[in-house]
Assembly symmetry: C2
DNA sequence: TGGAAAATTTGATCGACGTCAAACCCCCTA
DNA sequence: TAGGGGGTTTGACGTCGATCAAATTTTCCA
């Protein structure tokens, strides 16, 4: 939970490339950075809890953060997995005063934390910041709607195939990709139990997908579209 | 598909109370209205199709619009149901240039249509418009995230109970509410087949819920929390 | 390099929900 | 009043994916 104002080079690079800061005027960047602080959190550590007063939003510089909800009986459902360069909880800038879900690190993680009220104030004065907020909210809304549609339309093997397809650089022919995190995290991201993800991978063997650890090999990418 | 610039009183009242226009300066309202046109669409009529160039977003003045995606085999999955006062496709203001889903009326429907590029331009100059856009995007993002969580955490009867609970004015004691649309629309909204919704209602009989047509009666609202 | 802890896979079972078909209901019109 | 059509309900059935438990692999340290 080490809070700290100094950034290493890699983290700084990630931060400046995030849609929130990229393309801002030098002045806006300075103002944004002045409201920011850096957190280093160990794995499986809470960032905030559902119902906490929302006074900050975050940008992942390194590692992964899981956003999830709990049922009454304590079951967890992931809503979103946030990786390097992604922001979360910015929707609290303009709606609601409490976090609507839990946020927990899935690895050792470095976060940039922005004061919500301060950024609200900056956005009023700096148009490019307001633009960045709108663009970020728009993108997140689209991807969350896509998530609803995927859950409702596709089976587990199809969702896994979609995940792979979205990450294959070329369209036809063979491809190899590497998962950036544990399979159990991917399972949560796709709305599956880890066992179901495992079985989905084994179903995909018929379609030319081989998995060893985090490495995924695809014989023919265009085949995956028939799953 | 009658397009028309004149609003009746009811439609005008709905329009002015929508979060997008409420609270704007008189000047901003005038500018927004000047980019607007009104559409009257019959039931089951397409508003736009997935992949169309996105050059407008919409506010429902009357009726309901279904946002949905199609699978390869033609199955439909609803993503959101929009009722009077709600806006849709505003996320296209700042991300993507094509609609990512289909929009179709579920009843005879009146829509206000706003030119995306024109509103983008207005938002740059009028801060209160930018604020309204951000607030609207924030709210939609939160409710869509909630939708993902509901789908993943709760069974059909629980989702229906949540829907009823959210619409009961008082907390304990009896309540009566009325569905604003067909049950098949509610089913889609909750990510269910109509048959599953019907069975969920019959499960809820044990918990003091009786349904006749669109009328729903609840013996004791606090009971519903135990479903 | 060994050994413990964690992650993943596999098997068995079960409940939830989609699908199809038929029955029913309600409202509308000829 | 009969007929018809859309929406809803009910029944039968199958599939998908959650859960629990156990086996197996991988990872991480000391």
């Amino acid at each position: 939970m080490n809070s700290n104002l100094k950034l290493n080079n890699r983290d700084r690079a990630v931060l400046m490339k995030t849609p929130f800061l990229q393309g801002l005027s030098a002045n806006s960047v300075v103002r944004m950075l002045s409201t920011m602080s850096v957190l280093n959190l160990p794995v499986r550590h809470s960032v905030f809890r559902e119902g906490d007063r929302a006074d900050a939003f975050y940008c992942v510089l390194n590692g992964y953060v899981r956003l999830y909800r709990l049922s009454h009986e304590g079951r967890e459902a992931d809503i979103r997995i946030c990786g390097p360069g992604e922001t979360f909880a910015e929707c609290l800038l303009y709606a609601g005063e409490k976090y609507g879900y839990h946020a927990q690190t899935a690895e050792n993680t470095t976060l940039a934390s922005f004061d919500i009220q301060a950024v609200r104030d900056i956005a009023v004065e700096e148009k490019d910041v307001a633009q960045a907020v709108m663009a970020s909210l728009s993108r997140h809304l689209l991807s969350t709607m896509e998530c609803v549609a995927n859950d409702r339309l596709f089976t587990a093997p199809q969702r896994v195939a979609n995940y792979i397809l979205a990450r294959c650089p070329v369209d036809g022919g063979p491809a190899a990709i590497r998962l950036p995190f544990q399979k159990s995290l991917l399972a949560g991201m796709l709305g599956l139990a880890p066992e179901a993800l495992s079985r989905a991978f084994s179903t995909l063997r018929k379609f030319g997908v081989t998995v060893r650890g985090r490495a995924i090999q695809v014989v023919d990418v265009s085949n995956l579209r028939n799953v």
